[in-house]
């Protein structure tokens, strides 16, 4: 379903929450100001995406990656974001790795039930090696937002 950029707004409740948490208590935000900030946020996403995409294209890649976005932030003069973004990315990556391990573990458990007990430990080691190989950066390119 084709969405026009204008139709894709970010959820008002979330934008409002972010604003409120950034401002001191007792400060209010008019509806118009909130709407403008929400619009600005959408424009920011589009601009950042376009900028990041330029870096990807320069590197002859079809897939936008985290590095492209960080480079875009610098290009857009939002260097102040780089540090917190890198930290958040680390936590995010660990979380993603954990999720993969969980689904790997579930798969292993199913196989164990079908297979014999003797092969268990050998299988585990092989599976672990397998996992290392399966997790190169490009793996992020697989578009399945499984959890989403």
């Amino acid at each position: 379903m084709a969405e026009r950029p204008e139709d894709l707004n970010l959820p008002n409740a979330v934008i409002t929450r972010i604003i409120k948490e950034a401002l001191p208590d007792g400060v209010n935000v008019s509806k118009e100001a909130r709407r403008a900030i929400s619009q600005a946020a959408s424009v920011f996403v589009l601009y950042a995406t376009s900028c990041a995409n330029n870096f990807a294209m320069k590197a002859k890649r079809k897939t936008l990656n985290a590095g492209d976005v960080l480079a875009a932030m610098e290009e857009m003069e939002f260097e102040r974001f780089l540090e917190p973004l890198r930290e958040a990315l680390e936590v995010y990556k660990k979380g993603q790795k954990g999720k993969k391990e969980v689904s790997e573990q579930k798969r292993k458990d199913k196989e164990k039930k079908a297979g014999s007990d003797n092969d268990k430990s050998r299988e585990e080691e092989e599976e672990d090696d397998h996992m290392e190989e399966e997790e190169p950066p490009e793996e992020e390119a697989e578009e399945e937002e499984v959890e989403n």
Binding site: L8, I18, A22, L46, L70, F81, L89, V91, K99, E145
Partner: protein, 129 residues
């Protein structure tokens, strides 16, 4: 056609919630692993979901750009996070103008003033209704 990403039409908020609880579980392990790093951000992240904005919506916005073919999950997350930081920043910068006008309510004109005055917001000029 280049590989298109079809995100199922599932309510994004619910998806985020699901992600959130799973991330919290994983996050506990991650926090232990990253003990040498500061526990502040990591601890905070395990209690909140990592991104307040729904990744599916962010991704849809990104894909509305015809030049964008594929985007890694990480890149979507970082853009979401950066957008959060952006909202915080512009709200705070606009507040300065409200305070100058001795007001406690942020108004549209405060936004306009901030956009005009601050270099980083130049890209917004002429884009808001």
């Amino acid at each position: 056609m280049a590989a298109t990403v079809v995100t199922a039409a599932v309510p994004t908020e619910h998806d985020s919630d699901r992600c959130g609880s799973e991330e919290e579980n994983r996050g506990a392990e991650a926090a232990e692993e990253s003990r040498q790093q500061q526990t502040g951000p990591a601890a905070a992240a395990t209690h909140n979901r990592l991104s307040k904005l729904p990744l599916a919506r962010i991704k849809a916005l990104m894909k509305s750009d015809p030049d964008v073919s594929l985007a890694s999950q990480e890149s979507v997350f970082i853009i979401a996070k950066a957008t959060e930081l952006f909202v915080e920043m512009i709200a705070k910068d606009a507040l300065v103008y409200a305070q100058q006008g001795k007001r406690k309510t942020l108004q549209r004109k405060d936004l306009d003033n901030a956009i005009e005055a601050i270099d980083e917001f130049a890209f917004l000029e002429g884009t808001l209704d």
